[in-house]
Symmetry: C2
Subunit: 373 residues, 2 copies
DNA sequence: CTGAAAGCGCTAACAA
DNA sequence: TTGTTAGCGCTTTCAG
């Protein structure tokens, strides 16, 4: 493997000259530049990453710090990771994937002290995240994916949950829905202060209030079963619901299944909109899910670009950006069915199921009514 | 940041001694070892990754080379990536994510020549993959994820498609299914020699032959629509089918939707088994998909471990391993409905739909028959 | 069992 | 505009 010395010798210049044509850190005459370039080409020269890193104190390596949770990465996170990798690669940087437990602060400190990372992207940021302080102490520039509670002097890129919820609600209200249930993450997740769950909860309440309708939020475990359970609760508390807005990619499929199990049709009986969802996942459902598409890879790219700006220019301004998810209407949302006419009171009484007061019956009835029409 | 010199001075030993207690490359007396350890602790010493890399010619960085296709990574690939990252991390290595176009051989050569990678994992290996030669020329040890056509002298880890198909077929045949349709990737994908598609196709034919039943394979685009189209074709060519085995995670959801659209129930009317599928995805379906669970993160871990063995010991033997996907029975598979009794011939004739010869009718009829029972 | 010192391949003063 | 050279922080002979 050719070294810079070889190139210098062949081009009959000094090593520093070779170095300078490479880095462009000082002007080199066209003539020598050409000589050097030719020599490099002839020798298939490639600068030695470690040597360069040691001498320049810049590794050109970025760290992507992702907590390793049991359930692995979702489609959105994956898109983020690949987006970040592409952006880094395009800028001549490398991206290392560092799985560090969120509470393994020592491990993080060790990683940061190895001086291998020029900067870091912090994924799955908690509202109060100790990792930030550790990284700062170690002098590692960073950009958050998500937000801590206090974002003073912190660069971050995050989803604009407020706007996303607002847009989703506007879509449903625009279609004529009034009784919309918001299915969030689990109560435990909310209790431990998971930002997106809290932010969307509040945004939902605000958005519904703006439209003058009453908000109803129901937590759900991150699973199909959780979705089904949430749906049951939803029908208990709001038998007349016509739309579900779900912030829970896993639960939403359970909701779909639960709806089908009740003999309800999507979107004729109930509209379903999924928040922060990738097109790939949205299209797995039948009908395909109307969803707020997460800007996964864009987030990754923007985060990397912001981080690089901090590296190039130490005085670069803090970058705080929120990207909304964009509404993509697919098959799971539509105008609500007309409400059970009051005039059908008699028919209801005659219905053998009418003695049961569960939402299930109400909904079924409504659906059946519409089908007859 | 403390350097090795600082540690040496504080411990009153030479730098080389410090280095040796760190690497263990030569015996050190317990007494000095303790002194050095104490000094390191006191100074919060962390070896400088680049300096160490330059001097030792080992970066302790592994590369994960993934072609950036438009559609991004699936759940299986993602599990693989995180599995690899964890394994590398556990072994004190770093994993860099290098998105390199499969046909950007120069880019790959450049990457390899930077001497930043001690070794590489090659994802989405083609049957004939030029990247292998490039990496070998550059002297970068590698482990394939997947297999090239000729695997001489090559270490690889791959899914045991043959066994996986065999197990899946055995499951269905064991349940009593005789008419099983195999939904593969698209014709184009097969034509371009995509290994998994070819291997499973052949394995399916062989497995069916072993059971003395006739194989039927249908290609499908990687989308829900592709799945629906494939289902239509399937019913045309095998109106009496009772089970679908799908090698296409995207299409399988379309198949499910198509089945529901025809008024067919899973698994009562048609059983569906999905190949090489993650539990997360399998559980999105209703009913949850019986699937051959891909050993995603195990693949990643094993690949890294094999690669590390090559790095530690240049003479380490080639590692070639196939991991089967394991059958996980969920709700989408069950015994076939009983075939339309021959004695119902008259009823068939009376059925207004019976004049149509589409599979749809046949299947519907059968389903209806069972429901009446 | 330990130390001294020569690099690893490059960058960036400093000097011309 | 170019060259000389002193490191960057560590590993690893070579000596003792």
């Amino acid at each position: 493997m050719a070294t810079m010395h070889d190139v210098a010798r062949l081009a009959r210049v000094s090593v520093s000259t070779v170095s300078y044509v490479l880095t462009g850190a000082r002007p080199i005459s066209q003539a020598t530049r050409d000589k050097v370039r030719a020599a490099m080409a002839e020798l298939d020269y490639q600068p030695h990453a470690m040597a360069r890193g040691l001498a320049s104190r810049r590794s050109r390596i970025l760290g992507l710090l992702l907590p390793i949770d049991d359930r692995g990465l979702g489609a959105t996170e994956t898109a983020f990771v690949t987006g970040a990798a592409s952006a880094a690669s395009a800028a001549g940087y490398h991206l290392v994937l560092s799985p560090v437990d969120a509470d393994d602060l020592d491990g993080l400190r060790r990683l940061a002290s190895q001086r291998m990372l020029d900067g870091a992207l912090l994924m799955e940021v908690q509202l109060d995240d100790d990792r930030v302080a550790v990284l700062r102490e170690a002098g590692v520039p960073l950009v958050l994916i998500g937000r801590t509670g206090d974002t003073t002097d912190l660069s971050y890129v995050d989803i604009d949950f407020d706007r996303t919820v607002r847009d989703a609600v506007a879509h449903l209200v625009g279609l004529g829905h009034r009784r919309i249930v918001y299915v969030n993450h689990s109560a435990a997740t909310i209790a431990e202060g998971y930002g997106p769950a809290l932010r969307t909860r509040d945004a939902f309440a605000a958005a519904m209030a703006e439209h003058g309708v009453e908000p109803l939020m129901i937590p759900a475990e991150d699973s199909a079963a959780g979705g089904r359970a949430a749906l049951a609760t939803a029908f208990d508390r709001a038998p007349d619901l016509t739309a579900v807005l779900a912030m829970n990619e896993r639960a939403v499929f359970g909701i779909l299944g639960g709806l089908a199990g009740r003999g309800l049709t999507v979107p004729d009986d109930v509209s379903v909109v999924s928040m922060v969802t990738s097109p790939q996942v949205a299209e797995l459902a039948t009908p395909a899910l109307t969803a707020m598409t997460s800007p996964g890879s864009a987030l990754g790219r923007i985060a990397v670009e912001a981080l690089l700006r901090h590296l190039e220019l130490d005085s670069a301004p803090i970058h705080q950006e929120l990207l909304p998810c964009t509404l993509e209407v697919r098959g799971s949302s539509g105008p609500p069915g007309r409400p059970t006419p009051d005039t059908t009171g008699e028919a209801d009484a005659a219905d053998p199921e009418a003695s049961g007061t569960t939402s299930k019956n109400t909904a079924r009835r409504r659906a059946a009514t519409r089908r007859r029409a």
